[in-house]
Symmetry: D2
């Protein structure tokens, strides 16, 4: 049994990690930390865990936690994670950070969108944890920066189009919609049921911090620096991201060739499902699972491609992908603990 | 009192019309028809009307209905409406058709998207009932084709940008999201609670029938024929459409000038609310009202404008707009019966 | 125009009051206060009010507010209201308090359930503002304690049964379910979308503070002191309370007689709708309206009556009822500003 | 590998069975039948199964299906199941029927609530499949009648109270609330999103067919024939039943003794979780799992007990319990394939 710990485990992402890891089979969760809930049993904070674990939250310091585990999941907010990450790395433990702090390889870019980076010295050690693009690097990594939820959907959605030169990389517009769990469990007016239910809105238009992360990875795929338009929206549902992504077709792009490129690109992937021509995913078809479902249309009438990619933002968009990365880092079969049928309805 | 009738009143659009007209003050609803529910009191089919009206559904033929009313609202599905419309027009009554059958001025275009038009001879009599663009024509019309829900949001959202030559008309992408009431009250698997709640999907990608209607009106505004990409999505909520609309900025487009153009364009409009810079609407802010709320962003970084327009699809997107048209046709103050504060939360 | 002010107007109840009063026709809202949002336009805090009012929140003290208005609505939390109420009454203004502080006539009972009462000297001046039971007293009152949301549904639901001696008053069990808006706009974990959506729970079992308010009024109706079992539940929806109320039938209770008693009891009431035998209300049939819908069953098989009563908790359960009380106090027609068709769907 | 088949697999219950069985580990699903969808891959009817199974629906007759499997799950509606059940039993296969047709041991009682029973000859062979009460019988059974969803929650909620003589068995009132998936996937107006969302209602008051099933089992527990009041309600959510159950306390019932009785009664049960004093379950804490969560209050003030029991109606209330029964019948560890952490949020 590999011993793991979750640092900052009381948010939705943390408890989702715990939920997955408790049924993983090859790891044992040694500790879950939370300053606010230190001393309280997990089941008191999340009654769904009643009878499933006797764990209580602790307020262990990084060094203390590191002593009892082999792998640490860091699930604290961006801006906070950068300080803890360095502490954990000093202990020699392997680390999977679920925050945004180590996803951007360029500290200057981080500075523009988030503020000054205080852990640049460990930044270049971080491997961007999207297995579909960086599987081999992840296997050898001791420090993985787990991708953002929106970026996971957009990057997986666009990779075959860009790799295949099917579209103009400068024309990409990603219109993304996310469930509310992405906003976390901190009480705030905008996340209240009454504010969200029956409502729908765009937010942080032309300024969301996932933009540079998406641009970084799409630029790699395109082979040149690109900028995209990214608009996030808030859906009145708990789990799920659906990204509708537009691009201008290169002259000779053909529907059959495009779909075939997707099938080829994701042929061996355990968690990407490419839909048949004319079919497109619904977030309810991936709920509670690690799948990314993708449908693609080639609209000759307007000369544009339209890609729809759906994930569960807490699962493939956060905790499930983190476990997928852990599996790779530990040499476990990649789907261990993640081989789950989506919950519908 | 002007006497009105609703032909095909048992759907969500029909009952919404009745709801508005019962509190209008200047009209009296003489009859509501429904083949399926003929003989049943409205309150048995929609208990919310208990105590508000003693009306029962009837199965009057068009000629019979016409005898007792001055104005007819036609609220049957497209394809069916075209036959009834001609019958009503023969009686000399004024007619507001809420279907798609008379919105496209070009019968050939109708044929491509919907099928053969069987009432071409009355097609050119129809005035497209978007008051913000065709107010004077509507005042003098005896036959109004009430706009579609998606088109209302996209056309109102884009009109000032196109009129002001701020964007490349060939670059427009409308990513629209609608609540479920737009699908009507017919029982079908896709509209079941369990299929919709917790879910979100795109549908009819690159093929939705509202596309030519949007293109028709945006082409008028642009002064040349244009094609757009339009992607509808299904939101897990009852009422509301939010359209996020992208276009490439003309070189000299400036955020201040763009916002100013919106304010000027809609200065006198009773039902369009332009948001301040940096603010964008939520569908929950227009629920149960005739408002179209619009926010606009100019993103110099990517060279694109992003417009967000929100309406209540049953109200400004259907029945409220129909009553607004009736008010114009009858010489009533335009906001009569529509001067409602949105219901939030 | 009667001049009114809302003290503590930034919560859901306060904005609902404002929404109703802006379309009332016989009053003018002079001021809305809020310490937290003082200086901010209402439309910035609630965008649904864009274009409907130029009012901004102020932080007027009671004495200042009183100078510019004839009637004050007090919409601050219980425990806080009691201090302000006395201040307002000293100014001679008429006052409608929406908190729980003056609903219980017995200060000792208040002490048991809420804590020590600090304004006992004005307590006996308060009239319990349920028009269906106390219309004449309300007309002459200068101080009305607006009923709680749950109590409104249970008291109106049970009044005819108790008045008619159809049931054993000691056997009453009220199983009530409320939408989330009843919890207000204060950010708290339990009101977050993710905690509520897809969930349903009972809370404050055998200990909710509305219990003594219900018992007080049912005891008056029964003619003797009674205790009831009251269980509130949290529904995943915005607006609406549905109370299912059980009691043991007196020997000779008969379905026809019971329904007839309901019809007679509420014959003249503008806002109570009694359903036909075998029909029962849905909260969606009263949304956004001042109605209380009631259905009643007599189950001879088990010897029990089952009453179902539905209201919109923000409307008939709070702000709408407050305006109904204001109408009575001012001699306006009772339905002024409240004559609204429910919003469905 | 035990070979299993699902007869009538295209409804929500059938697909939930398939979902569980595909990850069971000790069985192989050989066939899933559906007349309507015969020939279609499961993934076309339920896209969530994409990549998880290559099964298509077939229209095998019972005898044909029986040839290729060891155990049959019968998931067709009541009234239809009784005919097929006999056919399957004739083939010698073991059978788990998820309909209501064989739950009532008294055919006359069945006749009163459902209509004439056409398979009385096999009725007495059926074992009522509630493992917590009938585990040993189920182990030896070849024909199990899987309990109803509401009954599962009410019977498990009340069993310790009745066994321990803590309450008056004649005083039981069960106020139950269910998510919409209980109504199945048949298109009908009452299950449409717009009819359900934002709504809440009681239905089939004093007449729901689960009443005699609950009475049958509570009578066994009480040791005498009893009648109960049972009121089902429709919740605006997909999955979950919460039953709030009231009864009059016997004189000497004491909170500590009652809670202790629950702990003792369910001490060995893998799927019943008794909450600590003062805590009560939320349906969201059992979503997607086989748990029944129970909280119990003793209210000395009114002399009543209040029990709250929560299940996932598709899981413990239907398909999960069916697999639990299969595990018992096959001698598998009881939790095989069911050892799932609930999905929250």
């Amino acid at each position: 049994m590999v011993r793991v710990g979750i640092f900052g485990a009381s948010g939705y992402t943390g408890q989702e990690l715990l939920r997955i890891l408790l049924r993983h089979g090859k790891v044992r969760v040694e500790a879950v930390t939370s300053r606010r809930f230190a001393g309280q049993p997990v089941r008191d904070v999340y009654p769904s865990f009643t009878g499933l674990t006797e764990l209580s939250f602790t307020d262990l310091e990084p060094r203390q936690l590191a002593e009892s585990v082999d792998i640490v999941f860091l699930a604290v907010p961006h801006g906070v994670a950068m300080d803890f990450a360095a502490s954990f790395l000093e202990t020699g433990r392997r680390l999977i950070d679920l925050s945004a702090d180590f996803r951007l390889r360029d500290a200057a870019c981080y500075g523009q969108w988030y503020g000054k980076h205080r852990a640049e010295h460990v930044l270049r050690e971080a491997v961007y944890g999207l297995p579909e693009l960086y599987r081999e690097k992840i296997r050898g990594a001791r420090f993985v920066a787990n991708p953002g939820c929106y970026p996971t959907s957009v990057i997986l959605g666009m990779a075959p189009l860009l790799k295949g030169n099917f579209v103009d990389p400068g024309s990409i517009i990603a219109d993304s919609k996310s469930g509310v769990s992405g906003a976390g469990r901190e009480p705030q007016v905008g996340s209240l049921f009454c504010e969200v239910d029956g409502g729908f809105k765009a937010y942080k238009i032309a300024g969301h911090r996932h933009t540079p992360e998406i641009e970084q990875e799409l630029s790699v795929l395109a082979g040149r620096d690109i900028r995209i338009t990214f608009t996030p929206h808030l859906l009145p549902l708990n789990r799920g991201i659906l990204s509708t992504i537009y691009a201008s077709l290169a002259k000779d792009a053909d529907a059959g060739a495009v779909l075939s490129a997707y099938r080829t690109f994701y042929r061996e992937e355990p968690f990407v499902r490419v839909y048949p021509a004319g079919s497109f995913p619904n977030v309810s078809s991936v709920r509670g699972s690690n799948y990314c479902d993708i449908g693609v249309a080639v609209d000759k009438r307007t000369g544009r491609s339209i890609v729809v990619a759906a994930i569960d933002n807490l699962f493939k968009g956060a905790s499930g992908q983190a476990v997928q990365n852990m599996n790779l880092m530990c040499g476990f079969p990649e789907a261990t603990g993640l081989d789950i049928c989506p919950l519908f309805p």
